[in-house]
Subunit: 425 residues, 2 copies
């Protein structure tokens, strides 16, 4: 039996000071403590303490004295980001990818698994386990694994409550499968929440206190940061925008509802639409494509001027726009970042989304909501999975049994949004 002692965590994201210092040094190169305090809006005392902790991990080194403004000299600090590495795993529906990152979130290498056979989900799970274990065996620098899974992910039971189009994922108990699988701790987070974390940490345009990451890919998901912390819900399953209905009499969804947003603008829905008799002759071979390939080819055709493709992209953008209207009115974020597969439609989609929001979202709010496309070089969810692991290590190195001098043998499944560890017995 597992104990279920997940505390709610108002500070889940507001305590990321060590992560922010790592990000800051990653972006700046070298800096002094004083400069860092000014730029990060921290007190010199706080910076001193955080730097000391990071130095004890060997993550920061002093680089000797450097000039600073006012003619005074101070000690430069630099990051040894590759000293610790993390693995990120993104589970989508048919797509699973694994990436190796340094602790600052820089991708070192990645691999994509063969498309998941809906009839053999356990095979995909075993494959992930084998590949991650192989990487861990070969690479002692890896200190944690982060996994991003489609929502609604139920934190306490380790299960996904529902996965449209590939229900087999529901039978996977992620805590059971991965909690004790590796020599390093594993952290599991819902995909769009991991993506929100990645956006707020790794894109300097993006607010750390109020933003929404709108994942439009094989599924449709959302992670919302409000007052510096993820909107959580009693089961960790809040912000399931993919299953907020936009049409009470609309398409029936596998969740039991009708008109769920996910039925209209997910990559699965787009692929399905492309296969319909009235349009499929514009997309030769579409039936045999993967969802990802179908979307990519649609966006390519739209960009090269094909009328039918452009019309379809505009229709998709309308639905992404209705989703953004709901996000503005329901969460009032300062920013919405649209990412994942469908964001690859680019500016044509973005402009149409902005137009829908300016027509339909609440006046007084819509003018204050910035809508952006993700600019992370790597998939936000995969980066987010790594960010979840990196942050847990940076903020709680000791609780992970890992310090500069001691290597870990922790065998617990962790949940990043929980303040406490998950104990298997």
């Amino acid at each position: 039996m597992r104990s279920s002692t997940y505390a709610s965590t108002p500070k889940a994201l507001s305590e990321l000071n060590q992560s922010r210092i790592v990000q800051y040094l990653h972006q700046q190169g070298t800096s002094s403590r004083a400069q860092m305090a000014r730029d990060l809006d921290l007190t010199p005392a706080a910076v001193g303490k955080l730097v000391a902790r990071l130095m004890s991990l060997g993550l920061i080194s002093e680089t000797g004295s450097m000039d600073s403004e006012g003619g005074r000299r101070s000690i430069g600090l630099a990051l040894n980001a590759d000293r610790y590495q993390v693995i990120g795993v993104k589970f989508a529906r048919s797509l699973v990818s694994i990436g190796l990152f340094d602790i600052s979130g820089r991708l070192l290498d990645s691999e994509e698994l063969p498309p998941v056979d809906p009839g053999n989900i356990p095979g995909a799970v075993a494959d992930v386990r084998t590949r991650v274990a192989r990487r861990l065996e070969a690479n002692p620098a890896i200190v944690a694994v982060g996994m991003a899974v489609p929502g609604p992910y139920l934190r306490e039971s380790g299960r996904i409550a529902l996965v449209t189009s590939m229900p087999g994922w529901r039978s996977v108990d992620f805590i059971h499968e991965f909690g004790q699988a590796f020599r390093v701790p594993t952290f599991i987070e819902q995909d769009a929440r991991a993506g929100a974390l990645a956006q707020s940490l790794f894109d300097p345009r993006v607010s750390a206190s109020s933003m929404a990451y709108f994942l439009v890919g094989e599924g449709v998901g959302l992670g919302v940061i409000d007052r510096g912390a993820l909107v959580d819900g009693s089961q960790g399953a809040a912000t399931e925008i993919g299953h907020v209905s936009i049409d009470l009499n609309g398409l029936p969804c596998e969740c039991g509802n009708r008109g769920c947003l996910e039925c209209y603008c997910s990559a699965v829905a787009i692929h399905r639409r492309m296969c319909q008799p009235d349009v499929r002759n514009h997309f030769p071979g579409v039936e045999a494509m993967t969802h990802a390939k179908a979307c990519a080819s649609l966006f390519d055709r739209a960009r090269s001027g094909q009328q039918a493709a452009q019309t379809l992209v505009d229709q998709i953008a309308d639905y992404v726009g209705y989703g953004c209207v709901t996000i503005v009115n329901a969460y009032n974020p300062a920013q919405i970042v649209i990412g994942d597969m469908v964001a690859a439609a680019g500016n044509r989609l973005l402009e149409q989304v902005r137009s829908i929001v300016s027509q339909r979202a609440l006046p007084g709010l819509r003018e204050h909501t910035q809508i952006l496309l993700s600019r992370l070089p790597i998939d936000a969810t995969l980066t987010g999975a790594a960010a979840v692991a990196a942050n847990q290590f940076l903020e709680h190195p000791a609780s992970m049994g890992r310090t500069a001098v001691k290597s870990t043998s922790t065998r617990r499944a962790h949940h990043p949004s929980s303040g406490k560890e998950h104990h298997d017995q």
Copy 2:
């Protein structure tokens, strides 16, 4: 010019320890410090400190020694709740009510203003100012005023972004009108958020960490408490459920969107529906009624078995149910409390709402969401307005210029969700 220094407040609700002690003594009568610490899950040291602060305000007195379990004797504490009083004001669309409460949230008396003339909103504002000032003049025990206004309320500008059916409210600058009007500070909060605060403080059934208050009255609003704090939004205007669309091709709403929930189940929408040719002969005189009277008569008729009324109540309940489905999937609260005018439809409505949720909300989440009707003896929003004022006083008595020995002359408009005061210049 005003400065706009509203900080976000992750601790807005998590810091209500003094309020909770007041509530506890209000409900328990007499208690010892040790008992209080156990029941409120606080450390004895924390309780000692909180009690000392409340004693210095004259709000708690020691009542002499009392028996406690184990045969030991301890000192009893009791509340002097009427020592400090607060005024709550509820602004709906056509309805404005004012209540005088003691600091524990007990209603002492209340008055309802004459229905607001849409053509003379400034007159209604002046009337509120006069009535509140008169009460303050006559009653030196009053230490704060709380006001609850329809959302979307823009915290920094002091304005309501949109008020369907009575646009005149948009022209009111609440900070300007009330910020300097009284000898005590005035706090302004969106109505459903104030209601959420009241529910979590005053109804022992209701969670203080994860709940949603679904206000279905002249307007439709929502306040969500997640991880112990209100979901806020970048402008303090999150959770505008009344303008989340349930039908992208539905009724046009004054906000610019189509199919907004508010178009289907607000008291205004219900009244409009009752006046339509196909049903109005079942409701004689309905055109001349106020929205409140029309709803009350509809619910009475349904309870007394009138078929047409029951059919209409069931249709309304469907829409309230679709709203709850969105709330479950968008916020995953442990509880939804339905309140205000339309909740008076009672169990018939509640059962239908639960049925819709069990069909349509996400499996895995819906089974864990309790749906309740408000049980507060007084309107939750009016009580909430008072609770906002009482909490501000209890948690920050010094910053309000009021202590046990010093009376206040603070003339600033305060926002309860902001950690900082609002400075007019």
